[in-house]
């Protein structure tokens, strides 16, 4: 089962989307989106892993010692996390506005787009 970590990442994404689809609460939906996105972190880091490797930082050890994990996907994961956090903030701000204007945060009760 050497591919189990990749499948785990896919499972996290599907669980997150299931949460969004069945959500009765916008805050819950935003958190589910964060769960979905964390599946991509797992996938990226799993692809970058290397058996017996350590972190790709060379400040306190010689460059040609142990192998290191893939720094490219780790940097992408960092980008992913930053974008995810800011998008979460933006969506939560939208949820605050919806709650103020409509008095509900149940997506099932939001019918039209006009306010």
């Amino acid at each position: 089962m050497s591919h189990l970590p990749y499948l785990a990442a896919g499972w996290i994404v599907i669980v997150g989307i299931y949460g969004i689809v069945t959500s009765r609460d916008l805050i819950h939906a935003v958190v589910c989106l964060s769960v979905t996105q964390s599946g991509t972190y797992v996938l990226l880091l799993a692809i970058g892993y290397r058996d017996g490797a350590t972190a790709p930082v060379f400040s306190d050890r010689p460059p040609h010692g142990r192998p290191v994990t893939d720094p490219v996907v780790q940097a992408m994961t960092l980008t992913d996390i930053v974008v995810g956090a800011t998008v979460t903030a933006l969506l939560l701000a939208l949820a605050v506005q919806v709650a103020k204007r409509r008095g509900t945060i149940d997506p099932g009760e939001l019918r039209s787009l006009e306010s």
Binding site: Y6, T22, R50, S59, P67, P71, V72, T79
Partner: protein, 230 residues
């Protein structure tokens, strides 16, 4: 769409997506395998530029253009959230120092710990940014530490002091300035990793302070007028 229909639709889509994803994932290289051509090249390049933290090198040197995009996403969503959370006409805003806000009944232990940790956390944030090119850390991580450190004052129960410590307009202009400096530097001198780290750290810190500040405003300051919502 009824909930049941929606769930069925999701189940069909999820089953298809799961099958395709599994088929794709089984063809990926083995987990933990030794073949990482891009990683090896990135490490070699980082060591050539003597940036010992390869991830900082990838973010601020080898992929600095991509980081510009990330920066602009960060700034755009911070602006979006600030615009969405502004105090609109029919809402009134409390005077900041008019009364005690937040967890008024803070125990002395929490208060002392908050005040003691504030300078230490700020220092750690600056260290993580400044040393990000050499050791684990960098502008994004350190900026988050800086942005949240300020809010230890809120945990210590001193919301007026927090408001004095972070004048929102100053942070707004600083964020825009840091974003501009980052774009200019990344275009002109990609590879100046410590300087780019600094610019990103300032921008992330300011954006976080702005966002949390706006959410605090919604929770603590904004009052609906007596008429209530329409």
């Amino acid at each position: 769409m009824r909930t049941r229909t929606r769930t069925l639709l999701f189940a069909a889509g999820a089953a298809g997506a799961a099958a395709l994803f599994t088929a794709g994932a089984l063809d990926l290289p083995r987990f933990g395998g030794a073949v990482h051509p891009y990683g090896d090249r990135a490490v070699r390049q980082a060591l050539r530029e003597s940036t010992t933290n390869t991830i900082s090198s990838v973010n601020f040197d080898q992929r600095a253009f991509d980081t510009i995009g990330e920066e602009l996403i960060l700034m755009a969503s911070a602006i979006g959230a600030v615009v969405l959370l502004r105090v609109v006409g029919k809402e009134a805003e409390d005077q900041g120092a008019a009364h005690r806000h937040g967890p008024a009944e803070v125990s002395d232990a929490l208060r002392i710990v908050g005040y003691l940790l504030l300078p230490v956390t700020l220092l750690i944030g600056v260290y993580i940014i400044a040393h990000g090119a050499q050791s684990p850390g960098g502008g994004f991580q350190g900026g988050v530490v800086l942005g949240t450190a300020v809010h230890l004052l809120y945990l210590a129960g001193d919301y007026p002091a927090l408001q004095r410590l972070r004048p929102i307009p100053v942070f707004e202009s600083t964020e825009a300035l840091a974003a501009g400096v980052f774009v200019a530097m990344a275009l002109a001198a990609a590879g100046a990793v410590p300087a780019l780290n600094g610019a990103v750290g300032v921008e992330v810190g300011c954006a976080l302070v702005l966002l949390i500040g706006k959410f605090f405003e919604q929770a603590l300051l904004v009052r609906e007028p007596p008429g209530g919502t329409p």
